[in-house]
């Protein structure tokens, strides 16, 4: 006899809209009579192996709707990256609790976990339906036009640079803003959507898809300062030299590494400080300021794309529909169908799992320091409605009296 139990969990870095997907699963599941209990695992796969489940069936739909509009992972998340043994533990717990449908909201590491768990269930001949639900502010999942969470983070970055540009125009100098993104530059490139007037910043954009060379960087900055009397720069935390070595390691003595063996890039202002020091020392520019957007860009409450919210909800809903009406496991993906409209499809887990998408060449200019109109066309509709706009005074100069000559 079927248990009627489904399980949902959230993995990896939180986003502004990941709870929309969670609530999409929880509420959509209520439509299906074969679902009796909706469990949520606390802190992703870690909560599964520890059997830390909460019963979402007991939640009011009203509170679920309120949680949906709250950023970060309401169930808690984890940075654990399960290997085969870990996934076997997950499967053991799923079986013990008679889970029939497993939904994991996360990035490419999470999709790989779903792939292995799905494989374990198949080998054990246990009837488990496993669905991966996409999310990542990095926008680095293959097979997706874009990923839920990215549009809202992109909106934050665009708004931040629109403001930083105005601030820098008020008090001219050089401004460096460091944006998240280890391998993919989408989020850093989103800074370009903060530009309005032709001389607005960011004047230079550095993404990890291109090799970063400090001498070239300094020459670029010098050119822009000569042209505009100031320079606003967007830099991805993942910029690296020709050998693939992160620029940040050229500065930091003790570099922290995570469970995946990756150098810690976020949660430190070191890269911005390094670049500012270089500009001050080598170009002799006095007012040089660096900001690292850090966790604000993924967690700030009150800066969200309504398009992103809707889509994050829908990938959760579609995941349940694919699970209930379909016959295969997979990863839900967003497909662009118009300007702007989107639909959803279920991709094979192998097509997404553990793969990394980076920015397409057509999105980066030949100079390597700006984005193309193709990128603007790609990103603008995702930022949603109500984007703030910047205005300036017109230049009506008054004739000098004392310095007439």
């Amino acid at each position: 006899m079927p248990s009627g139990k489904i399980l949902v969990a959230q993995g990896g870095g939180p986003t502004a809209v990941i709870n929309q997907s969670l609530v999409g699963v929880a509420l959509e599941a209520r439509r299906f009579q074969n679902v009796k209990l909706v469990y949520g695992a606390r802190h992703g796969v870690r909560g599964i192996v520890d059997e830390e489940f909460v019963d979402l069936t007991q939640e009011t739909s009203h509170n679920l709707e309120a949680v949906a509009c709250t950023p970060a992972s309401a169930l808690g998340s984890t940075r654990d990256k399960p290997d085969l043994k870990y996934c076997q533990e997950i499967f053991k717990v799923l079986r013990a609790h008679e889970i029939e449908h497993f939904f994991y909201i996360g990035g490419n590491d999470s999709s790989d976990t779903v792939r292995i768990v799905s494989e374990e269930a198949r080998k054990a001949n246990y009837p488990l339906r496993s669905i991966h639900i996409p999310k990542t502010i990095d926008n680095d999942l293959v097979g997706n036009d874009h990923t839920p969470g990215f549009p809202s983070a992109a909106r934050f970055v665009a708004q931040a640079f629109a403001g930083a540009n105005l601030d820098n125009a008020s008090l001219p100098g050089v401004y460096v803003g460091v944006v998240m993104g280890r391998h993919a530059g989408f989020l850093t490139a989103a800074s370009a959507l903060g530009k309005k007037f032709p001389d607005d910043g960011p004047h230079l954009i550095y993404v990890p898809e291109r090799v970063f060379e400090i001498p070239k960087f300094l020459a670029d900055v010098k050119t822009m300062v000569e042209r505009h009397g100031r320079c606003v720069i967007a830099v991805s935390e993942g910029i690296h030299d020709a050998s693939g070595q992160p620029i940040i390691t050229q500065l930091a003595k003790d570099v922290e590494k995570d469970a995946h063996g990756n150098v810690q890039l976020s949660g430190t202002g070191a890269l911005a400080d390094l670049l500012c020091e270089e500009i001050k020392a080598k170009l002799g520019i006095k007012r040089v300021r660096g900001d690292t957007f850090g966790y604000l860009q993924r967690s700030f409450i009150g800066c969200v794309s309504d398009v992103d919210q809707r889509e994050a909800r829908e990938v959760g809903e579609k995941a349940v529909q694919f699970a209930m009406w379909g016959k295969v496991d997979g990863s839900v993906a967003i497909k662009r169908t118009g300007f702007y409209s989107a639909d959803y499809e279920l991709l094979p887990l192998e097509a997404v799992a553990g793969k990394t998408r980076t920015m397409e060449d057509e999105f980066i200019t030949a100079s390597g320091t700006d984005v193309t109109d193709a990128f603007r066309l790609y990103l603008r509709p995702l930022l949603g409605s109500g984007m703030p706009d910047a205005f300036r005074l017109r230049h009506n100069p008054v004739a000098k009296v004392l310095k007439r000559g």
Copy 2:
């Protein structure tokens, strides 16, 4: 014969609403028949001595309204802090252009400039009306209930911490957020308004009104981590030891100083990084992340308090009214008259100029690491309408199956 010329300028750090004050002056001046020309100086006092004026009379009211809603200083700003000689230069230019009314929007340094210029005009028996219009995100002007610009920056900080708290709850660890404020802790204290549930962060708040001691800090963090399994910390960039030495100088080798002889605190992630290193090294906590809010907190476009917008506009309007109908120079100040209502008065320039307000003792708890309800009552109405709210799932645990024991 009167020239009918007025001049307005913006000084110091930009804010989200400083253009409201500018536009308040420009539009209110149009009501007065004796005003023929409204000039704006580019980049504050620097633009005055350089005679870099623009004619705001030629602006459309429509564009002025759009500029009013744009953050940062539309006329440009300056960090110049004029001495007597500089102020004499300013006066020389004002006289050469036959300026009859001078409006300077800025903080306490700017009010001191207005005071000296006013004095020069009086000594020269030149009929100049000089009015200082308040603005500063630091909220450190004496004689004001609060200053325009502070509520919007406070809103950003509260929203940032509400989000950072959610992110930190998702992936537990220690989070340090460094907030602007050299001498006054108001903006850092605003982080407390991001708290909703009793165990929400920020769990610790450090303001420059209290001496910062690293051993005490580490003990505080340890206590909070033991209590909550995590810790969110708000730190003012201006924290200092018992001798008044900024904590940041204990780390930085080459400390940059500005024209005022102040150590550069913003535009670097050094303080957050230093504190994170201390926590990692001394408390052995693994996941420790630091963010420096930097320029985002004063320039971010799309995070503004409607109360702040209204008041910033009104101080500009009232400045013109005080100038036209009154007989004395002065500094416009915000006075709280109810819960919540405000009115404006004109203070003598000497009452405000060059003085620094810090947080009142009644706003800081005895522990020195939190704010009182009096502070919440003070700040909440200023944040304005539509503050985003955070919700969480209720805890309905599911019985374990495998780990029943």
